[in-house]
């Protein structure tokens, strides 16, 4: 099967194109660094199947950060049959820099001028034929988000794969370097190498670490003394050579665009400039950001709960009741009826009710993501973050963590220095994810039915504050050293694409449904069995196995105000998946009353003050296993994963105790 790799600068539309080609549903967003892993998909044409690989964005093959490394590794080692170089047409002068490097690799390339719709709106014109001739490869135009030009691209891909491509290296790096390239090329000839000799020569001269390592591992080369001499001579001049090579590449790009791209004299003024005057304003930027978050949660509540919430609750009730009646009618054994009505409906039903809220929240976050505001949020926060010893981009991974901490931790890949990245990984669990949201919703419904939006906002805000403070402590203690400089593109504002918003929402909702059917179901089943055994005890009572385990853990939560065995068991099961906190409470309390009694049971078992300290605990304590596993994978260390488990628990506990004790001193109950 033929493999096609999508390569290009960040935010040039690779994933949008990937989705259009393969019918996949990968995450798209209007900020650089959305894709941080390699993703594969397929399409069929004329009976043949083609394998397509979407890669993280990269500015060059030099690779500074983990995500760029993924892209580079695939380009170098994945043996794609053809590379589709996705170019942002409105920014072609910069994007072709990467192209100039790809052309030297000896792999077939197709240049795709994406965002051609925006280029037209900006009145930028292209001589496609000239461009193609100058680059020596086919050029196709697309507007991926509007699915324009996809068919033509597929036809071109097939043509290129079946045909021959004559890639002639066309960049001259000046007499001196060209001579060195020739010398090295000659020394390389006859040696078995994975890459074209000319390409290796250039990479050696510009000081590419990977290629330097590659040749030093090659026995035939490292034993060649003549080659060794040339190599050390080259190493002397790396800095000058590097600059010269970069300059020559840009000169090449200039040569190409001079005759094939016409920009209007006076650049078309875009709305982005005007909007940015306000949104990233020196004084207003931060208050506006806070206001946007506030409105986000108010809207979530107004639409998700007040408008749609009742419907879902009624539906869960009706379906639950119908199932119970059905089970009774077919004479099911009593334990099955108990398991289904108390375990499944009482437990999982308790979270299904809140789906509308989740849907609304993630649609709103999706709109923010696809609008271009994410990069601005990072920009606004960089000032504060820097004072704390953190990198502004950390904030993007934090916002991604609002959806789920797993992609949140992954999103830290765009941070270049180890220090910045480690801190960003370790503080991500404090970001309140969609699953934790469910816990707050139940407690809000029980104690603060009128202030839901505000409470949610405050909880998320506390999460951010704790993350920043802990980050500051880490940067002064565990991970000292300079934070790397902030460099980030601010993409133009774009009208959010409905498809992207819905997809991003569905990612979260379907993930939640999947967990409900797997992990949470398993947890409920196991806990239910433990709650009704040993035979003869009162089910869901303190004497059951579950009750005894809970009673054993409960005392440590006494200082925080929620020292009941039910709360202890709930928190414990939350480590499997955060929703399980609610399902567990739903189950152990469902046996107590009738129907969906969770809310009133909680009103009985907690007070407004302990509900707040419990929410703070769930916000901050040990992340779920999926997040812990991701932390292990991304830090490549079991030690850090365990550290993350333990220290978050300590902070969650401390904060919960602090809230409860302070609240009590102030006379709350």
């Amino acid at each position: 099967m033929n493999t096609i790799a999508l390569v290009g600068n960040p935010n040039s539309g690779k994933t949008t194109l990937f989705n259009a080609l393969t019918g996949s549903n990968q995450h798209v967003g209007n900020w650089p660094g959305v894709t941080v892993e390699k993703k594969e998909g397929k399409f069929k044409f004329n009976g043949n199947t083609y394998n397509v690989v979407d890669l993280p964005g990269t500015y060059s093959l030099g690779a500074f950060s983990e995500d760029e490394m993924v892209a580079r590794d695939f380009i170098l080692k994945g043996n794609p049959d053809v590379v589709i170089n996705v170019v942002d047409a409105t920014n072609i002068e910069r994007n072709l820099y990467l192209t100039s490097q790809l052309l030297e690799m000896g792999v077939k390339v197709i240049v795709v001028l994406n965002m051609i719709d925006e280029a037209e709106a900006k009145n930028i014109q292209f001589g496609i034929k000239t461009l193609s001739k100058k680059l020596g490869v086919p050029v196709v135009t697309t507007a991926a988000s509007k699915r324009k030009g996809i068919k033509e691209l597929i036809e071109e891909i097939v043509r290129v794969i079946d045909g021959e491509m004559d890639l002639k290296p066309s960049i001259s790096y000046g007499d001196k370097i060209d001579r060195e390239i020739k010398t090295i090329k000659k020394l390389l000839s006859g040696k078995t190498l994975e890459y074209p000799p000319r390409w290796i020569a250039i990479k050696l001269i510009e000081g590419d670490q990977y290629v330097h390592d590659l040749v030093s591992e090659n026995k035939a080369l490292s034993s060649d003394s003549e080659f060794g001499d040339v190599l050390s001579a080259v190493k002397e001049n790396i800095e000058d050579n590097e600059l010269e090579i970069v300059n020559r590449r840009y000169e090449f790009v200039n040569d190409v665009t001079r005759v094939s791209v016409v920009r209007p004299e006076e650049a078309v003024k875009t709305v982005t400039d005007k909007v940015d005057k306000i949104l990233i304003h020196k004084y207003f930027g931060l208050p506006i950001f806070i206001l946007i978050m506030f409105v986000l949660f108010q809207l979530t509540f107004a639409v998700g709960e007040d408008l749609l919430g009742g419907l879902m609750a009624a539906a869960v009730d009706a379906v639950g009741h119908a199932i119970e009646v059905f089970l009774v009618n077919i004479n099911s054994p009593a334990w099955i009826i108990a398991f289904v009505s108390e375990g499944i409906i009482g437990g999982i039903g308790a979270i299904i009710e809140f789906i509308p809220l989740i849907v609304v929240l993630y649609m709103l976050i999706g709109i923010l993501e696809d609008s271009g505001y994410m990069a601005r949020a990072a920009y606004i926060m960089d000032n504060i973050m820097r004072k704390l010893g953190l990198h502004g981009k950390t904030f993007i991974s934090m916002i991604v963590g609002f959806g789920c901490n797993v992609p949140g931790v992954m999103a830290t890949r765009t941070l270049e220095s180890k220090k910045d990245r480690m801190i960003a990984i370790l503080i991500n669990p404090f970001m309140s994810c969609g699953a934790k949201l469910l816990i707050y919703l139940v407690f809000i419904a029980a104690f603060f039915p009128n202030g839901g939006g505000l409470i949610l906002f405050l909880i998320y805000f506390i999460g951010i504050l704790v993350a920043l403070l802990v980050g500051k402590i880490f940067s002064r203690t565990l991970f000292k050293g300079e934070t790397t400089d902030f460099i980030m593109e601010l993409p133009p504002y774009r009208k959010p694409v409905l498809r992207n918003v819905l997809r991003n929402m569905w990612d979260n909702v379907s993930g939640f449904l999947k967990r409900a059917g797997t992990v949470i179901f398993a947890v409920v089943t196991v806990l239910w069995i433990m709650a009704v055994l040993p035979a003869g005890v009162e089910p869901y009572g303190a004497e059951s196995i579950l009750g005894r385990i809970g009673l054993f853990i409960a005392p440590i939560f006494k200082p925080a105000g929620f020292g009941t065995w039910q709360a202890a068991v709930g928190l414990f099961s939350g480590i499997a998946a955060k929703e399980a906190v609610v399902t567990t409470l739903g189950m152990v309390y469902a046996g107590v009353g009738e129907g969906t009694e969770l809310i009133s049971a909680i009103q009985g078992a907690f007070t407004p003050l302990t509900s707040v300290s419990f929410m703070v605990m769930t916000l901050l304590y040990t992340p779920c296993v999926a997040t812990i596993a991701t932390i292990k994978k991304e830090t490549n260390s079991v030690k850090w994963a365990i550290f993350a488990m333990v220290y978050t628990f300590a902070i969650g506990w401390t904060m919960a105790v602090l809230v409860f004790q302070t609240g009590r001193l102030l006379g709350f109950s």
Partner: protein, 75 residues
Amino acid sequence: MNLLLTQLKPGEKGKVKQIDACRRAARRLYEMGFNIGTNFEVVKNDIGPIIVSLFGHKVAVGRGLAQKIIVNQPD
């Protein structure tokens, strides 16, 4: 006349003359479009990173790094 990027005001145009940062940072800048000889316009320079427009595309550069970018009058 040579200036530092941080010395330009919003609306002022310039041309990249030299980057005095460490190799890694300089390379990053070149590859993001701050190659020698590129014309640009400063969009924002108050608090936080400086925003520069290159071919109509905005790139934010931290102040520490911006101080290492030496610029002169545009063509």
